[in-house]
């Protein structure tokens, strides 16, 4: 009986020791392979783009550099919302002061990528506090099992060994034009091909609307406190209604006197973007990104020069 009890206790003890070791190793590895850590923060670009997959595939910092002489980094990450943007703002400001934060009008309903993207920065107190928003069982698991925060990160980390994300300063190009329904030749309704809600597991959480609004307000106030300008951008889209978050960001931008660059179909602002420039209804392809980066470059140049 004693021997068996000892065996069980030893098994548990070794497990927790392994958990700590694995956490340390992965923490070092993820910092080494995380493009944000290795490239962006040390290069101190003037402009930082913060958004989700839509902005990630539509701003090519190379265009801004070559055509306007602006150094920038596209720190957008797929599936994210304001938790991620606020976390990245804190991480950036901890290292240096950029000239402009370009914040995308992202969904305010859920957040599913922040945990994965911000995991390497959990030692930042603000990031830690932001991630405390997750349900109790996620928080408990993280406290109990140190390595659990790398859930589904490991494959991405392996991928980073083979794929250089920094080739385009955070920008991830998409190729090909918008797909159509094979049978009826109709456009694919928004969401049909993107129904990967569960892919981020328990990290996809519904967001409290009021908390998100407060996060946007804090984002603006904190940036201003550091002397960093904020621009909010509503992404171009091929068709479909704008989602609720558009109105939330627009209202806050008006309230706080923040420049709101509206490129949705609603505004008719971008006429140069055609159907062939979209990879799907809401993501630009690499050709579309070239055009959009040029448009954004012109706006940002004005902002940096103090004209807007």
């Amino acid at each position: 009986m004693r021997k068996n009890t000892f065996k069980i206790l030893l098994f548990i003890l070794i497990f927790f020791a392994l958990d700590l070791c694995v956490d340390r190793i992965l923490s070092q590895w993820s910092k080494k392979t995380n493009s944000i850590y290795t490239k962006f923060l040390h290069k101190e670009p003037e402009v930082v783009f913060l958004g989700d997959s839509k902005l990630r595939s539509s701003i090519n910092p190379k265009v801004l550099k070559e055509n306007f002489g602006i150094s920038s980094y596209n720190a957008s990450f797929y599936g994210t919302g304001m938790i991620y943007a606020s976390g990245m703002q804190a991480i950036t400001l901890e290292h240096y002061k950029p000239k402009v934060f370009v914040l995308q009008s992202m969904t305010t309903l859920t957040d599913r990528g922040a945990m994965n993207a911000l995991t390497p920065f959990l030692n930042n107190p603000k990031v830690y506090k932001l991630l405390d928003i997750y349900p109790y069982y996620v928080a408990l698991r993280h406290r109990l099992l140190k390595s659990s925060k790398y859930n589904w990160m490991l494959l991405t980390m392996v991928k980073r060994l083979f794929v250089d994300y920094d080739l385009f300063y955070g920008y991830v190009p998409r190729y090909g034009a918008q797909k159509v329904d094979r049978t009826s030749k109709k456009e694919i309704p928004r969401g049909a091909m993107l129904d990967f809600g569960a892919a981020f597991h328990d990290y996809e959480i519904p967001m409290d609307q009021l908390k998100v609004e407060q996060m946007i307000l804090d984002f603006v106030d904190e940036s201003r406190a550091y002397g960093v300008k904020v621009v909010i951008v509503a992404q171009p889209m091929l068709y479909g209604p704008v989602d609720d978050s558009y109105y939330v960001f627009k209202r806050i931008a008006e309230e706080k006197g923040v420049l709101f660059l509206d490129y949705t179909k609603k505004s008719n602002r971008v006429t140069a973007l055609k159907e062939k420039h979209f990879n799907d209804p809401i993501h630009l392809n690499h050709q579309g990104a070239k055009i959009f980066s040029q448009i954004m470059g012109e706006e940002i140049k004005k902002i940096i020069m103090g004209q807007e």
Binding site: F15, V138, L145, L154, K159, A192, M193, D195, A199, H201
Partner: protein
């Protein structure tokens, strides 16, 4: 008594109202069992009580599971012949595990009637047999002659049983949260949006679904068996590497064994089995498989799935008679492909979508929906992993993949599985597919 209260508590946590249903079913079968036992020499009375037991169980099952299906189809039929039906479907909640516990409970009275089992006088023991929480909601569908004696006699938890239980739970959990739920991330978007996908995507999604449902269900069985074993109770093996079956009958002796043997013993054989000539054998096979399909759910897709398997078994039966049963790699591959086709009907939302998928597969198109490459990569890698792990122990009881001669290896693989769950587990709380049945 402790276990019974725990089982009722566990079930009541889902919806306490349905505790009354399970208690009602238990009480009816307990009383019928006693009555059948008391009138051993009075055939008519025995038959009456057996009839009461079977009819009451089937009524409960029929009402909660199939009422809306029949009403819906009746409305459709009447309207198709021009009669305006003034009928409404009912707002019925399907009690979790109802198909499992009614079949389990029914097998008791049938066994008592056949004289294969003495009726128990201990009500609480019988109640625990029906509601034993590890296998209450998704099996294995245990037989009374196997489980009741284990409940009635005093048990002593052995360390070896305890560790075997832990190993089975760990493997089951890995199969569920890493493999099955990981594959679901690809399968669900494809099957929910069939009109936007094409041939190769459907082939991959169906292949993934075959392993999703296997890992989901066999993972649950592993957990149930492991949990029971930790308490000193031995449940029956429910899966034995089904995708390594060399013919379709072999498949059914490896897939959901507790249901297939139940259908064989309480439906196929009483119908006459293979005793009354070729045509009646085919009829009996088809009835058994159709009802087996319907058991899974009130949807024509399940009926068609059952019919397809019925057809397969009949052809296999013929080939067996002609001495043409394949027992080699070709047989394994052919059987797997046939089973894959049937899974399309099992998983599709309705028959027309299933037929659309089948048609699309035969209309080759190179476009392939990846979604997130990590999901596809993990899907393929996890399938290879479970295959290698289970094939290694194909002759070991319950496919205990962590049974190594060396304790060090056992510990290393246990840690690997635990960290596998931590790193690649899907924690979205996906429920087990078979809970709905």
């Amino acid at each position: 008594m402790m276990l019974l209260l725990a089982s009722y508590f566990f079930y009541g946590m889902w919806d306490w109202r349905f505790l009354f249903l399970i208690i009602l079913s238990t009480t009816i079968d307990y009383l019928c069992g006693l009555k059948i036992g008391h009138c051993q020499n009075e055939q008519a009375k025995k038959k009456t009580f057996l009839f009461i037991s079977i009819v009451s169980n089937l009524l409960i099952l029929g009402f909660f599971k199939y009422a809306n299906f029949f009403i819906g189809n009746l409305i459709f039929f009447l309207e198709s012949i021009g009669i305006q039906a003034n009928l409404n479907t009912l707002n019925i909640i399907l009690p979790v595990g109802i198909s499992f516990y009614t079949f389990q409970s029914m097998s008791y009275t049938i066994d008592v009637y056949r004289g294969e089992l003495k009726p128990t006088k201990k009500y609480f023991d019988f109640a625990l047999y029906v509601a034993f929480f590890p296998q209450l909601v998704a099996g294995p569908i245990e037989r009374a002659k196997r489980l009741l004696p284990q409940i009635s006699f005093e048990r002593k938890v052995q360390f070896d049983d305890f560790t075997l239980g832990c190993r089975l739970i760990l493997w089951g959990l890995f199969k569920k949260v890493v493999v099955a739920d990981g594959l679901a991330l690809y399968v669900d978007p494809v099957f929910q949006n069939v009109q936007y996908h094409s041939s190769f995507t459907f082939v991959v999604a169906t292949f993934f679904f075959a392993f999703q449902i296997y890992c989901d269900f066999s993972g649950y069985s592993n957990i149930a068996i492991g949990l029971a074993r930790m308490m000193g109770i031995r449940l029956m093996q429910n899966f034995r590497l089904p995708y390594m079956a060399s013919n379709i009958r072999d498949f059914w002796s490896r897939w959901h064994i507790s249901l297939s043997t139940w259908l064989r013993d309480y439906l196929y054989i009483p119908l006459g089995g293979s005793r009354f000539g070729y045509l009646k054998t085919c009829r009996n096979i088809m009835i058994t498989m159709l009802l087996g399909g319907l058991w899974h759910g009130a949807n024509w897709t399940f009926v068609f799935w059952g019919a397809l398997h019925g057809g397969y078994v009949i052809i296999d039966h013929l080939r067996g008679k002609a001495g043409k049963v394949q027992g080699n790699v070709i047989g394994v591959v052919t059987t797997f492909l046939l089973v894959l086709v049937s899974w399309i009907f099992f998983r599709a939302n309705n028959l027309s979508e299933a037929l659309f998928i089948v048609k699309s597969i035969f209309n080759p198109n190179i476009s392939f929906f990846v979604g997130a490459w990590t999901i596809v990569a993990q899907g393929f890698l996890s399938i290879v992993f479970i295959y290698l792990m289970e094939a290694r122990v194909k002759d070991v009881e319950y496919c205990d993949v962590l049974s190594f001669r060396s304790a060090t290896m056992q510990w290393i693989f246990s840690y690997l599985l635990i960290f596998g769950i931590i790193f690649f587990g899907v924690g979205s709380g996906e429920q087990f597919i078979y809970f709905q049945f």
